[in-house]
Symmetry: C2
Subunit: 238 residues, 2 copies
């Protein structure tokens, strides 16, 4: 039986990166992992950032919350330590911030190609593990997608058309709002079991087990036209 | 949010063909149909039929249940009338019976290609709507798959290797048994809501609605490390 995991995420959200790593650790240990279908959904941490604005993330955070640049770096080192426990590379310092709307549009394009996971992993690596800003550089975004195996013309086509997959991004965000989701990552297992944040691996394991062991509730008549080892309950022609 | 529909089915089961048509009628009218993921699972009505045995289905049914050939045809006409209401072609008479194991193996191969639905529709059409036996003729089976868009060498490769995808078929059947499923079609919506048999369209609509409107239950801590519009709840580095 198929178990779905819907994950709301943003590319510039370090806890989404950590949360994905912890969820995947749980998935690797789940005996019915072949039955699990994962779909990633769009969530912009800050939908108000204009498309052409970006800058160093440390200074942006320091300014926004009135903390020192050193404190921001200390926080980053804390996240890097947690990433290290999962074997995830995490580069402290040098990231930029900016609008993720176009990245989410590309993730919906990738979903339509059956390769959403590939692109998300490439975007996370580009943002958190590699030594170059991702948000401020459209050519680098194209390069990350192409290196991940996507067709360059198709990627440019999506980026050149501001409405391409835009409605899909908005629909994901509306659904997050309808669910009361105010922070990401947010996971829903089997359409029912919610996990908020980068929780411990065991929490994801528990959610997978709960979603895959639901008691079946009958909808409609108990019996209807079926075929079985004893034949088909065919309608009687008077 | 993704809604899964798991459907256990057999190719030689007329009510599976009808049930799929009714489910799809419900799906067409479901406003969140783009979020629905359908996976078809294997169920052999008669796993004891040897691979090399087949024959006319009417006579087989008449012999098996001690009813007249005319009664069998009358039953078939009743099913054809129900198929007609759904706009599904159904040819009365001329079908054959036989082992569906290899077809189920091919359906798992098709699933691995992301084209399971295409093959299942082609097999149903080949068995119920077209004027040639499907079970008794391996070359026709290859032809149906190739016409549906599958690579001939790959299809022959699966059929030539009796263990290819065989474990997937058995696993589906074991899960059906574990769920207490004794007849098909059997549908599970969202891992929870079961519909047995070719029920009316409205029943499938109700199951879709129930599966897509589950109340979210929180697993794990209410709050954990998340990022939101007000920033990330980053771990405090003492």
């Amino acid at each position: 039986m198929t178990v779905t995991v819907d994950i709301w995420t943003d590319i510039n959200c370090p806890f989404c990166y950590l949360g994905k790593g912890r969820f995947e650790a749980a998935l690797r240990g789940f005996d019915r992992r072949d039955d699990v279908v994962v779909v990633h959904h769009s969530f912009e941490l800050d939908p108000t950032v204009p498309a052409d604005v970006s800058g160093a993330v440390e200074q942006h955070i320091a300014d926004k919350y009135g903390i020192s640049a050193e404190q921001v770096l200390a926080n980053e080192r804390g996240i890097a330590a947690q990433a290290g426990e999962l074997g995830l590379p995490y580069k402290v310092g040098g990231r930029d911030y900016g609008s993720s709307f176009d990245m989410h549009r590309l993730l919906h394009f990738a979903l339509s190609q059956g390769k959403q996971e590939t692109l998300l992993d490439a975007l996370y690596a580009g943002n958190f593990a590699e030594d170059a800003p991702l948000f401020g550089d459209r050519e680098r975004l194209v390069g990350v997608a192409v290196t991940a195996g996507f067709d360059e013309q198709a990627v440019r086509g999506v980026l050149d058309d501001p409405e391409a997959y835009a409605e899909d991004v908005r629909r994901d965000e509306q659904q997050a709002a309808a669910l009361g989701v105010s922070g990401v990552p947010f996971f829903v297992f089997g359409g029912k079991y919610g996990v908020s944040g980068a929780q411990p691996v065991e929490t994801f394991t528990r959610a997978l087990e709960m979603a895959s062991s639901e008691q079946i509730v009958t909808v409609g008549a108990d019996s209807a036209d079926t075929c079985g080892p004893d034949g088909c309950a065919v309608p009687q022609a008077d």
